[in-house]
């Protein structure tokens, strides 16, 4: 009986019901969309961070990561690589040779970090071939000394495809060596750090150039679904051929603590932001419901005078509130979820605002596209919180309505 | 009914002797049809009426007889379906909203049965509201409103908010507000509907006094016998037509 009367009351005061539900629904939807965008940004940062570090887990000779010294190399490469690959939770192990050196042409020289890679494995982390502007990628080249350079280096060194390029660097024994490469490809991404610093060759060619046959600088590991970087790092660390072999095993979080710091600080600000949005939403919703109920209280003063008892009035009020809340949540969720889908589908590219370079803790976020992610736990919490505010804000006036004398009720809330 | 068969011009209804010597309000063949869904409600079915300057006229009749509609059309709160209304020589039936507002401000004061006053303004502020709309200066407003408020017996209550005044006192504020701009006509829709009979009588006596002293024309609707017995002239409406006219035009 109460429920049917409440439902009819909502229909009878259509304008008011519309104002109330639209306000709550809209605030709630905005809240959901804000959360979706924040969570998505967070997830993308984690991904970009692991990519920037070179893998979820990294294996080097002990001390390499801190010193980047050319003498700190993984000497028995094949054994270690096999051991890493067979550790539990490893999806792909990516071997690399990293060389700090100068590339020179007749026009000058540029400092680079040359990466000797196995393209078939590297692709699990990132696909350099995608950004190839001219020439051919490592997998297509028939030369045994191929070199792919960033477009800016090529331009500054006034190079053309097929040109000879000299690399000067130290080998693991500390000898300064020079090696000859041929420019086979040019990569252009629009990101300055890549275009100005990228130098790629095959693992074999790099090993030959700096006398590192059978040696590696780094093994990047991508962990399988369901495994965590920490568990995989522990598993690799425990492997027989890794332990006591003078190697360091680190997760990307350990490798780039600045990035972790940034993500944590960003998370903290996101949290503050969400709390503030919620506070503003709470004010709006509490107000809306208080208004609706207060207005009803005045009307109910009349009902009360006609003999409807206080408890009955309060029950009717609460029933109306619950119905309105459910209606608002349903509409709001539909709106919010649509917003999420739209945001996720189209996205807002950060680079679209004319930014080429957005360095944060060593990773470039300029190619980030803001999208949206649903975190079901958070969305459920948000929904419950909104429901609590709406119903909570009706309790006080409902209580008042049940205890006021009719004459007072008509003047209440003035 | 004779108004349908009578010639199209000239007085046809009750006592309309004042028409020829320049009635203040002249209503001719007035009809008003409301549409409620598919239902047509004929609120006025052809009203002819003349009110002269300084008259104190009551429109009586049961609810639904068209009293409020007639007052609203004369005050340009509503538009006729057909027929013409001239007030002070001006055709009011075709005014737009802005013109209507200016017309009311200049020529007609309104008093409603309740909720006449702005709840957050004091009695004095409510009373001077129309003068403010006219752009009258603060000192002149004071000069005009204070004597009127004193005259209606609200001297000590000027700073009270409406909810601190009784129903009768609120209506007096509304009367002062209507009179403050010195309009030619005051239109009052059931001004005593929410008052007890003693207060109603007092209010009517006050209105009569003001009518006599200021020569302001009063046209009001009522079905209150206390009011009707004090009116100088009573027009009885029934089913959207003037059924009877009692008393004397001024």
């Amino acid at each position: 009986m109460t429920w049917r009367m409440a439902w009819r009351n909502l229909w009878r005061h259509r304008t008011r019901t519309l104002i109330m539900t639209s306000a709550v629904a809209f605030s709630y939807a905005l809240f959901l969309v804000s959360m979706g965008m924040g969570d998505n940004g967070h997830a993308q940062m984690l991904e970009a961070a692991a990519e920037g570090a070179g893998g979820d887990v990294l294996v080097h000779a002990d001390g390499y990561w801190d010193n980047r010294s050319s003498d700190l190399v993984i000497r028995n490469a094949q054994t270690v690589l096999n051991a890493v690959e067979s550790a539990a939770g490893v999806e792909v192990a990516i071997p690399r040779v990293l060389v700090n050196g100068l590339v020179s042409s007749a026009a000058g020289n540029r400092p680079v970090m040359l990466q000797g890679i196995v393209p078939e494995r590297e692709i699990a982390l990132q696909d350099y071939a995608e950004d190839l502007e001219a020439g051919e990628f490592l997998t297509e080249s028939t030369r045994d000394d191929p070199l792919i350079l960033g477009a800016t280096i090529v331009e500054k060194l006034k190079l053309e495809l097929g040109d000879r390029v000299v690399l000067t660097a130290s080998d693991p024994e500390g000898e300064v060596t020079r090696a000859l490469f041929h420019l086979t490809g040019i990569v252009e991404t629009g990101l300055p750090e890549t275009d100005e610093g990228l130098a790629l060759t095959t693992l074999d060619a790099a090993q030959t150039a700096v006398a590192m046959d059978g040696m590696l600088t780094q093994i990047g590991v991508i962990v399988a679904d369901g495994a965590t970087p920490d568990s995989v790092a522990a598993a690799i660390h425990a492997a027989a051929d890794v332990q006591g072999n003078g190697l360091e095993v680190m997760t990307w979080r350990e490798a780039i603590p600045e990035m972790v710091a940034f993500i944590e600080i960003d998370d903290a600000f996101l949290y503050i932001y969400i709390v503030v949005i919620f506070a503003v939403v709470a004010f709006a919703i509490a107000n809306t419901f208080l208004m609706a109920v207060m207005e009803r209280v005045r009307e109910f003063g009349l009902l009360n005078a006609l003999g409807l008892r206080g408890g009955g009035v309060a029950r009717l009020l609460l029933a109306e509130t619950v119905l309105m809340t459910l209606l608002a949540l349903a509409v709001g969720f539909t709106l919010g979820y649509s917003g999420h889908l739209a945001m996720d589908h189209w996205g807002i590219p950060v680079g679209g605002w004319g930014v080429e370079d957005m360095e944060i803790s060593g990773a470039n976020f300029a190619d980030l596209v803001m999208r949206s992610t649903v975190n079901p736990g958070k969305w459920i919490m948000a929904t419950l919180a909104v429901a609590l505010i709406t119903i909570g804000s009706a309790l006080y006036p409902a209580y008042k309505a049940s205890s006021l004398a009719p004459s007072e009720a008509m003047r209440f809330y003035e | 009914m004779n108004e349908h068969t009578a010639p199209s011009n000239g007085p046809r209804d009750g006592d309309v002797a004042t028409w020829d010597n320049g009635a203040l309000i002249r209503v001719r063949d007035l009809t008003r049809v409301y549409h409620q869904g598919t239902l047509e409600v004929h609120a006025l079915r052809g009203v002819n009426l003349d009110v002269g300057e300084g008259e104190f006229t009551a429109l009586s009749g049961p609810s639904g007889s068209g009293k409020t509609t007639l007052l609203n059309i004369i005050g340009v709160l509503d538009h006729p379906t057909s027929g013409s209304v001239k007030v002070d020589g001006v055709d009011v039936s075709t005014m737009n909203r802005g013109e209507a507002a200016d017309f009311r401000l200049a020529t007609a004061g309104f008093i409603f049965q309740a909720y006449n006053l702005v709840p957050v303004l004091t009695a004095y502020e409510n009373a001077e509201f129309t003068l403010m709309l006219k752009g009258v200066s603060r000192s002149e407003r004071r000069d005009r409103v204070v004597p009127l408020l004193e005259r209606v017996g609200l001297a000590g209550m000027m700073d009270r908010k409406p909810h601190e005044l009784s129903g009768g006192q609120q209506q007096r504020v509304a009367i002062v507000r209507a009179l403050a701009t010195e309009p030619k006509i005051i239109l009052a829709d059931e001004p005593t509907a929410n008052l007890d009979s003693e207060t109603s009588a007092e209010l009517l006596d006050l209105m009569l006094e003001l009518n006599r002293d200021l020569n302001t024309t009063f046209l009001f609707s009522t079905h209150d016998p206390v009011v009707i017995e004090r009116a100088r002239r009573v027009l009885k409406l029934l089913d959207g037509r003037v059924a009877d006219s009692v008393g004397q035009a001024a």
Partner: protein
């Protein structure tokens, strides 16, 4: 004026409703003040970190060097040059530099380094390099003569990678301007941590005279780094510098793709030298819009709702006002005024609250350590760690409340329009 009076009194009359609406507005405005204060803090710190040590605010190079740096692309440091420049309006101090890439080695390790030949006194005047000293001391103006090893100050990253400390000896190699190979023995006298990652990871500071000798560039330099008196007037100062030197303000583009000439000087602002920093600055300020949008949209719903509800409740009152002669336009203005009163009051309240919190954080800073135990992070090549200080400037204080008043105005239009269209007769009769 009566509109504002009615507006204020209606707010006072509906205490609950008004305080909740004002609360929502105030929280939004306070948060915007706070977040803008912090963003300004980050941005200023970022720009300062990126420019202060490395580029200053204005730099002068030859056009050829600006396009593509090479040892031989230098220009003569006439004795009058520095004196003339210092007389230019807006110039605080000037530091002449040699700037080259070279290889620096210790025992078996070597590393590519950015070699900066500087005048110890002028460099310390122009940049905050000496604030960054982590250990040891800065270069001396009057170093011991040969054959004593030459003094060198290393970026902290360079020192760590070479595993050297104060007093250790290093060898340096680079290609001199004439194509010969310069090399010398150095002694580490100081290690700097500036927070600028480019400097900390690869910079090697030496005496200007030593590098000029090694690079076969006697009396020549590669760049002039200028600190301006007023950070905001960088462009004007650049133009004045260019005028004084007869220099261009941009790198000339050669039609055939050749490098621009070496006999033309170019004066550029930090925005030109590091466009990416400028872009990020612009982007970050644009991103305020998104923050405004999301926060104020919710607040706007609150105001809109209050005003619609208020208009709904008071429709009979509005009907009476129109019946006694108020024009619809005036009614419209009255209701918009009420929204403005609401927005202004809430906005001022929020500004007071926001300024109080932001002021605290601008004096005491916000300890980033409470959010992370990983130390700091880097942004656009600038290290952030420890405390970050908010900045309270006019824009930070004024903008959020102004935007809120504007939002309140926009939001007030709809209920005002609806109320101005009230049909008085049925409204007064209670038939709507």
């Amino acid at each position: 004026m009566i509109s504002a009076t009615i507006g204020f009194r209606n707010l006072a009359r509906n205490r609950w409703r008004s305080s909740l609406t004002l609360g929502g507005i105030a929280v939004s405005v306070a948060f915007m003040v706070w977040i803008l204060g912090f963003m300004e803090g980050w941005l200023v710190e970022m720009v300062r970190g990126a420019t202060a040590v490395e580029t200053g605010q204005v730099q002068v190079h030859t056009a050829a060097f600006a396009e593509s740096p090479r040892a031989d692309r230098s220009f003569a440091l006439e004795p009058s040059l520095l004196r003339d420049l210092r007389a230019v309006d807006g110039v605080e101090s000037v530091s002449p530099r040699i700037r080259l890439f070279g290889l620096i080695g210790h025992e078996e390790k070597s590393q590519v380094a950015q070699i900066m030949g500087v005048d110890p006194v002028l460099e310390a005047q122009t940049t905050p390099i000496t604030d960054g000293l982590e250990s040891g001391r800065w270069l001396t103006d009057d170093p011991p003569p040969y054959p004593a090893p030459r003094e060198v100050v290393l970026g902290t990253g360079v020192a760590r990678q070479l595993r050297v400390g104060i007093g250790d000896e290093l060898v340096i190699f680079f290609e001199a301007a004439d194509g010969s190979l310069g090399n010398d023995l150095l002694e580490v006298v100081g290690i700097v941590r500036t927070g600028n990652t480019a400097v900390d990871r690869s910079a090697v500071y030496m005496n200007l005279a030593d590098t000029q000798f090694l690079a076969a560039l006697d009396g020549e330099i590669h760049e002039l780094t200028i600190r301006t008196k007023n950070f905001v007037r960088t462009e004007q100062t650049r133009d004045a510098v260019a005028a004084a030197l007869g220099a261009r303000t941009d790198i000339p583009v050669e039609p055939d793709g050749e490098d621009p000439p070496n006999d033309v000087l170019v004066a550029r602002s930090w925005q030109q030298i590091m466009p990416s920093i400028d872009q990020v600055l612009t982007l970050s300020r644009q991103s305020y819009l998104v923050t405004y949008l999301l926060i104020y949209l919710v607040a706007a719903v609150g105001i809109l709702n209050t005003q619609r509800m208020s208009a709904l409740e008071r429709r009979r009152e509005f009907g009476v006002l129109m019946a006694i002669g108020m024009r619809p336009r005036r009614m419209f203005r009255m209701i918009v005024t009420e929204s403005l009163v609401l927005g202004t009051l809430g906005g001022v309240l929020g500004t007071v609250l926001g300024v109080a919190v932001t002021w605290y954080h601008s004096v005491h800073g916000l300890n980033l350590g409470i959010f992370t135990d990983q130390g700091g992070f880097t942004w656009m090549g600038v290290a952030f760690s420890g405390r970050i200080y908010a900045i309270l400037n006019t824009a930070v204080v004024i903008q959020p409340v102004l935007v809120m008043v504007f939002v309140a105005f926009l939001v007030g239009l709809w209920p005002a329009l609806k109320s101005a269209r009230i049909d008085p007769a049925p409204t007064i009769a209670g038939r709507t």
